[in-house]
Symmetry: C2
Amino acid sequence: MGRTQPHPEVSQVGLQSVLEAMVDPVRRSIVTQLDAAGEDLTCGSFDIPVSKSTATHHFKVLREAGLIRQYYVGTSRMNALRRGEMDETFPGLLDALTTREA
Amino acid sequence: MGRTQPHPEVSQVGLQSVLEAMVDPVRRSIVTQLDAAGEDLTCGSFDIPVSKSTATHHFKVLREAGLIRQYYVGTSRMNALRRGEMDETFPGLLDALTTREA
């Protein structure tokens, strides 16, 4: 199973935390790319204009806000969009935030 | 007609500006109260835990993000939610942000 980090229950995450995560354009881009891909992606496969350490921070914020689930496959850290859970708790929010980039 | 401030075209406002406006819980509460009221409200009629001058700042941010339209009736500044325009440009966003307070 490998290393895992704590993930909150989406139902326990407040809208405030989700918005604070999604107000950042890089984080919103990560979620939009993950949504468009339709599959889990490694951290390295995103097209984002930031350093690796900054990217790691952004993934952590998204994970703690309940937006993504992270897990390891070998040495690769994978990212999964928690769309079903998000849609259940915040109906329509991800659709509204991922349909446009800017 | 009285004094009026500049209002942007909602179609020219980016999602980034809307999210920066709506990430603030007081501003989100103003929009939620305006939406629930279903009518235009004076600045003084909102239940928000901030000073008058801070409230004025929040209304200004909302106006500049295209979320509300402000106009005067006598000496009262009225606030109107630009729901139709917002829904047209950002489908589902206001619904997702006003259905819950926290």
